[in-house]
């Protein structure tokens, strides 16, 4: 199978042998990197620089999002007790004992979730790693449209500014939840955050959406058009598959969210009535013509936001697959089934949005069909999980920080996914909908899933991005603490959720059935855990910053991995590849019999001794 490909390369273009190919003699063909600082690092069209810009912005916002979460936790454990230091800064009013106003709590979790989702996880997964890895992994010199790529990063900035500014407008930041259901999000007097903050929120999310949209068009085109010779679709690394299918999800789902956000914005500023029912208003507000449907917004929102949760997991799954295979020194188990599973998740992902609306007043018969499709989506996820386990089985597992975080992903995603089954079961969802059971689920998939994948990816590709290694010892301590305390923070949420603890409430002690020591004690326990979890992230931050300047120099291929990015110097030059490489086989040829090393770069032909590849699995 590999022989036929040798001919597809340009004559005379020998595959680059291994890492490090010295200064290129083809320089005259290649644009040099811009000289000026501004164009080189700020308004750069280089996908690698843009990736790093996304990464830094995302990580900075994750600090803000994390701090907001810790404030949420504080209030839940010790309701209305002033937060040390912070309270005095924020509510300079000793008469109220520096107490947090109740609406502020709603702002906290709304902004926590919005920032984590729209400004951390999506930009870091697709913006940073998508940008960095797609061209490098498919053997291209850049994205198909480098300037559009730059635009897509700078479209984030109005979003960044608007979301931060919204904290300071009259009434404060949005507080209708990240789901932003009307009419609460529309009527200015329904709650302080809907006065002005919500408009800023809408605009910020729209900008972030535009950024993702332009990005996704770029990614799809790049993957379709710019693959190196021999890089057939079924030779692309899982990371690229994840990013590619994610981009398709974004391209088809995001516009619908945009239309919903536009309609909500118009309802707020132009007085349209899309999501406002006849005859209802908040106390003493003037009557409105109405006629619209509040539930319609939920349909539009979830039509995007369910696929969006897969946007936050598919790239993660892709990257984890690569990390797992590399450090198991073993081919990925069932590469093609894995690809098909990603496609299946994405396809089914468009059919299940109603599972967020089982109790919303939507026709219960529709609930039954959505339940069926939701159950089915566990199938491709099951295939993925079992294939990861199959990958590890029989391998030679090397517990680097990247690997540990990747295994953490697998382990935690199983918990998060299985709790999804409870909620997919409509009758059970009656009880656990809008309780902490949901909060547990979403943190297991988002923190245990997406965040662990981000940690794994940062540890894994840091050497390629910055040319230096991260500190392994610190990385392992960080993983240990994060893994431990993320479980103690989020696992008890299943239990209190099952006990009926509603989400989004500022003070659970209002309710008698929550007053037992079980839930209260648990809340405090989780808060302490969360504080430690937050503190553990400082280690990551330190490791990151320290390694940036003082880390050990990384060679071209420190992990002895197969994919194309490892054939370039670390960090790769402006043009990535001095010669466009030729690809001979799928990316997971580790420990091939007859090869001395335990890895085989995609640019090296497989030896005849290794036998033909399994056409169905590999």
């Amino acid at each position: 199978m590999s022989a036929e490909l040798a001919s597809s390369g340009t004559p005379g273009e020998a595959p680059t042998q291994g890492p490090g190919h010295g200064p290129s003699h083809d320089h005259d063909h290649i644009h040099p990197a811009p000289r000026f600082f501004l164009f080189r690092y700020v308004f750069s069209t280089d996908h690698k620089v843009i990736a790093i810009q996304f990464l830094f912005s995302g990580l900075i916002f994750s600090l803000l999002g994390g701090l907001l979460a810790l404030a949420v936790r504080w209030q839940l454990a010790w309701p209305w007790k002033p937060i040390p230091i912070l309270s005095r800064l924020l509510w300079a009013d000793p008469s109220a004992g520096y107490q947090m106003p109740p609406e502020f709590y709603n702002k906290l979790f709304t902004m926590h979730a919005s920032i984590m989702i729209f400004f951390v996880v999506i930009p870091v997964l697709t913006g940073a790693f998508g940008n960095f890895l797609i061209p490098l992994m498919i053997g291209a010199r850049d994205m198909a449209f480098p300037r559009l790529n730059m635009v897509s990063y700078w479209l984030m900035w109005p979003g960044f500014i608007l979301i931060l500014y919204s904290f300071f407008v009259e009434g404060g930041a949005a507080e209708a939840g990240w789901t932003s259901y009307p009419p609460l999000s529309e009527w200015k007097w329904s709650t302080p955050g809907s006065l002005n903050g919500q408009t800023y929120w809408l605009l910020a999310v729209m900008f972030s959406g535009l950024s993702s949209l332009t990005g996704s068009i770029n990614y799809i085109t790049t993957v379709l058009m710019l693959r190196a010779p021999g890089m057939k679709l079924f030779r692309m690394p899982m990371t690229v598959w994840g990013m590619f299918i994610t981009a398709l999800l974004q391209a088809f789902a995001l516009p619908v969210l945009t239309s919903a956000l536009v309609m909500q914005t118009l309802d707020r500023v132009a007085g349209t009535n899309f999501f406002e029912a006849t005859g209802a208003t908040v106390a003493n507000a003037p009557a409105i013509p109405g006629g619209g449907g509040p539930i319609l917004f939920q349909h539009l929102f979830w039509f995007y936001s369910h696929p969006a949760v897969y946007v936050m997991i598919l790239p993660a799954m892709g990257m984890v697959s690569d990390v797992l295979s590399t450090f198991s020194r073993k081919p990925l188990f069932g590469y093609k089934p894995m690809v098909i599973a990603i496609g299946g998740i994405a396809g089914l992902g468009f059919l299940v949005w109603g599972h967020h609306m089982f109790q919303s007043g939507m026709n219960p018969m529709m609930g039954a069909t959505f339940m069926l499709s939701t159950m089915m989506i566990a199938l491709p996820s099951a295939i993925k999980v079992f294939n990861w386990l199959g990958t590890m089985w029989g391998g030679r597992l090397q517990y680097t920080s990247a690997m540990l975080n990747a295994i953490g992903f697998v382990s935690m995603f199983v918990i998060g996914g299985l709790s999804g089954i409870f909620m997919a079961a409509t009758p059970v969802d009656i009880h656990i909908h809008d309780t902490y059971f949901i909060v547990a689920h979403l943190h297991y998939v988002l923190f245990g899933g997406s965040m662990f994948a981000i940690f794994a990816a940062v540890h894994f590709w840091f050497p390629k991005m910055f040319g230096r290694m991260m500190n392994e010892r610190l990385g392992k301590i960080h993983f240990f603490l994060t893994f431990l305390f993320m479980n103690t923070t989020f696992f008890p949420m299943h239990i209190i959720g099952m006990h009926g603890h509603p989400r989004r409430i500022a003070d659970p002690s209002i309710y008698e059935f929550l007053r037992g020591s079980g839930t209260l004690g648990m809340n405090q326990f989780m808060t302490v855990s969360a504080l430690v979890l937050g503190a553990a992230q400082i280690l990551f931050l330190l490791n990151f910053l320290y390694s940036l300047v003082l880390g050990r120099k990384a060679g071209d291929n420190p992990w002895r991995s197969n994919t194309l990015e490892w054939t370039t110097p670390s960090p790769p030059p402006h043009y990535n590849f001095a010669r466009i490489p030729t690809v001979y086989h799928p990316p997971y040829e580790y420990s091939v019999p007859g090869v001395e090393e335990d890895f085989l770069l995609q640019t090296q032909p497989r030896p005849a001794k290794a036998g033909p590849l399994d056409p169905i699995m590999a």
Partner: protein, 274 residues
């Protein structure tokens, strides 16, 4: 470094342990009346709990299975190097197994289809309009920002007439009888949540949604608002009281009505004429 497997094993043991412990703790398990914390007081509650158990058992088994494999693989296949730093063992080289792929697609598919079909009936019974009990409505419940306004039919037994009793945050019904309410909202979204009875339904402005439930045990319960509805969402709590007999409920309604009439009377005869 095979000791990393211990960390993962700990997480799994902790997760299973938490649910095992929860089973014996009234503060942790599904919310039920004190004294008998494994008994859901409503018929639908018992069905939901049963389903919850079934799914817990299935997912628990899947969870334990996957974690055992994971931890074992981490332990068994950890990289080892000899004194010279060469790996002791080579990794296996294979790309997958079609047979396994088929097995682990078919079996979960069977399980999932089973879960899906098994619960269909319960869902229909609880939510389908066609399943609503043919009884006169107990009350009309209108949610508004941070209150539940509950309107019971007055002596004439009909809703929306002048003699109706209107109270706030106080839901009363009789035990062992299906209570049917009409749920409405006069401003934003709210959600009618009775944790001990496993009832939840959003209140949507512009819609009137029938909700029905029962309880086999008299006593006090709680009504929670489960949909974010503004700054006071957390305190939108209602009391629920289940009476032993229908007479007691009627008696309570009559008393309340009398009480309200008295206060209305005192209001109209107040000295300033207002």
């Amino acid at each position: 470094m095979r000791y990393w497997s211990i960390l993962f094993a700990m997480a799994a043991v902790g997760a299973v342990g938490a649910f095992l412990y929860a089973y014996f703790s009234p503060d942790w398990w599904l919310p039920n009346p004190p004294g008998d914390f494994h008994h859901s007081v409503s018929r639908f509650g018992r069905e939901i709990d049963k389903l919850f158990f079934i799914i817990l058992a299935i997912t628990g088994a899947v969870f334990v299975g996957t974690q055992v494999v994971l931890v074992w693989a981490m332990h068994r296949f950890a990289d080892e190097t000899d004194a010279q730093g060469h790996p002791v063992r080579k990794a296996d080289y294979f790309h997958g197994s079609q047979r396994l792929e088929v097995i682990w697609t078919i079996i979960p598919a069977g399980i999932l289809v089973f879960i899906a079909l098994y619960q269909m009936g319960t869902w229909a019974e609880i939510k389908y309009r066609s399943a609503a009990p043919k009884v006169p409505p107990l009350a009309e419940v209108t949610a508004r920002q941070f209150q539940w306004v509950i309107r019971y039919p007055g002596p004439d037994g009909k809703l929306n007439t002048v003699d109706d009793l209107v109270v706030v945050d106080d839901l009363h019904f009789t035990r062992d009888r299906m209570a049917l309410i009409y749920l409405r909202s006069s401003d934003v979204l709210h959600s009618f949540f009775l944790p001990q009875l496993r009832v939840k339904q959003d209140a949507v402005p512009g819609l009137t949604i029938p909700v029905w439930f029962d309880a086999d045990r008299a006593g006090d319960y709680e009504l929670v608002c489960a949909e974010l509805c503004g700054w006071g969402h957390y305190k939108m709590r209602g009391k629920v009281y289940v009476h032993e007999t229908e007479e007691q409920l009627r008696q309570w309604i009559d008393e309340k009505l009398a009480e309200q009439n008295r206060s209305r009377l005192t209001m109209t005869t107040a000295p300033n004429g207002r």
